[in-house]
Amino acid sequence: MSEGKETLVKDSIDRGTVDAARALESDKYAEGFVTDIEMELAPKGLNEDTVRYISAKKEEPEWMLQWRLEAFQRWKEMTEPTWAMINYPKIDYQDAHYYAEPKGGAKYKTIADVPQEILDTYAKLGIPLKEQEVLLGVEGAMETAAAARETPRVAVDAVFDSVSVATTFRAELSKAGVIFMSISEAIREYPDLVKQYLGSVVPVTDNFFATLNSAVFSDGTFVYVPKGVRCPMELSTYFRMNAKGTGQFERTLIIVDEGGYVSYLEGCTAPMRDENQLHAAVVELVALADAEIKYSTVQNWWPGDSEGKGGVYNFVTKRGDCRGARSRISWTQVETGSAITWKYPSCILRGDDSSGEFYSIAVTNGRQQADTGTKMIHLGKNTKSRIISKGISAGKSNNTYRGLVSIHPKAVKARNFTQCDSLLIGQTCGAHTVPYVENRRADAQLEHEATTTKLSEDQLFYARQRGIGEEEAVALLVNGFVRDVLQKLPMEFAVEAQKLLEVSLEGSVG
């Protein structure tokens, strides 16, 4: 029953989300509501005390605090990068709260302790935590065995502002040996694993935003999949920025040991606000020999209104390390939100015969600016990478693909295939492609294809002549444009992503 109900809830929310978005005239953003809940905030500003405050809140061991403080020292000496094709007013790093948690403590003992307002928020967003928790009961699971086969189950870590409020399916996962918990808990419970891997893919001093994150990261997800284990369900984290004047600095660390496999989904939303909110996350993936990690993102942060007021500044460092031989990492992203997106999920192909993939759909509308792409660093022999990027620009937005394929001297017979397609809707948007290639080997095989097309009025007319209304026709054509990437997303997400595209591009024609 619960399974069936969950699907229903999700379906009706998806539909509700789309309908609600349709109903909004200028601001087509269904997730833009604010949850009214008492919050505990760190004092505004960023200094050593802020870092100590966060560390103390998290009850962190001394080594973690020192790690943060070192990062903070380095950050003070760094300057913000300016090479991306994005424009924004200078960010005042002292004018934000670096920590926000719902009052009453960081982590709730059981799901029953999570305030109803937060549960409602996630339910509204289509993440029924309680429903999933109910499924933990053996009896329920027995009854719904048939339904369960049809509805793939997803374990969720829900992060509300700076804290993880609930993590579902933990018991079941731990039976399989999979550790799935918030990173704050992992620091306390599995310090050795964290110490070994944290910052090993994205070093503390990697870049301005990653270093800032290292100093003040609040919460995020930790996953460890042991040797030879195929994670029995999809894992996901749902990030929600709620509190006013806050930034979110989450940190995700996923380690898959030899021969293991995990598929991980990440979703993000934030309320509509006139101010700009900063989001600077770091995600590190480590795949040991023969391990595989699939990481999918549907990013729908508040993009600002049609005039460019408000919206999330999304400065994210995501990197995967194919550390072992034959390991595989794939990034799939659907980016429809944020006022500014600065994001380059990358793969370091260190292990021989390892492979990296990057599939991306980036949509910009209104005044949004996206500068996104990937880096494929080929270090090992016979390493392969594949990049498929689909940029869609509408309104007065700017969409840039920026990518690097780097073949190092020891990467015997490395191979890369890159395809960058841009679709322009209307006359006032921009699409840019900035591919870099560094090749140090004569036997490397590199292919690059790029196209830029305008959504043609003739195509639209053709569809309309067949009876398909203009907005639906745009959605149909856009879906066709991104189809090969959508197919890479897990089933559940693909449907959501498709609807999201539709909503994001509403009003982009005519």
Binding site: R466, G467, L477, G480
Partner: protein
Amino acid sequence: MLELTNLHARVVPEDGPAREILKGLSLAVPAGEVHAIMGPNGSGKSTLSYVLTGKHGYEVTGGTATFEGKDLLSLAPEARAALGLFLSFQYPMEIAGVPVMTFVRAAMNAQRKARGEPEVSAPDFLKLSRVAAAKLKIDPEMLKRPLNVGFSGGEKKRLEIYQMLMIEPRFMILDETDSGLDIDALKVVAEGVNALRGPTRGMLVITHYQRLLDHIKPDRVHILSAGRIVKSGGPELALELEKSGYDQFLKAG
């Protein structure tokens, strides 16, 4: 069924001056009839089909066009389609990434929704599709590929008629459907078109050549020249044209 009275229309290119193409065209096609429009290049045949279906870049400057008494010209293209107007394009569009069946199903359901009818169910759709494909000798695998992408000219035309059979429009405009078709394909396509003839449907067949009319027999033939109908007659008019060309009629007009 379709009535055009003193229709004037011009084409407004994005770059360049507007040109008047239709200059007082009048025409009535009653339900149950098939009318052929013939005429030399540039006489306004394709413009007529675009004006009737509401393509951007075409502007009606005078006259009326009604479909079963309803003013066509004030309606959006999709609303005209929902009324039952279908254009088999001279140059069908390629739509990357959208499989033929996905497109056609979206079209059928959009029309049904606009008319307040229930959507076509997946099994019904597949059944209809199988029948239509068989009638037109279309390989069903082709229907899973993106619409018209990489298809030959003949295949594209065949797919236009496939869409027509699926959508079952009430009024069909065939714009040079015979171009790009070999004789065998022409027969297959014509059979498909003829299957839709009936007392409640009307059809406008735009063509240069008699050979299509050998297979789709018109009730009336009109000769279009410089934006007006200069001569109308029975099927024999097309045969006469084939023998002696347009010149005699153009002078008369």
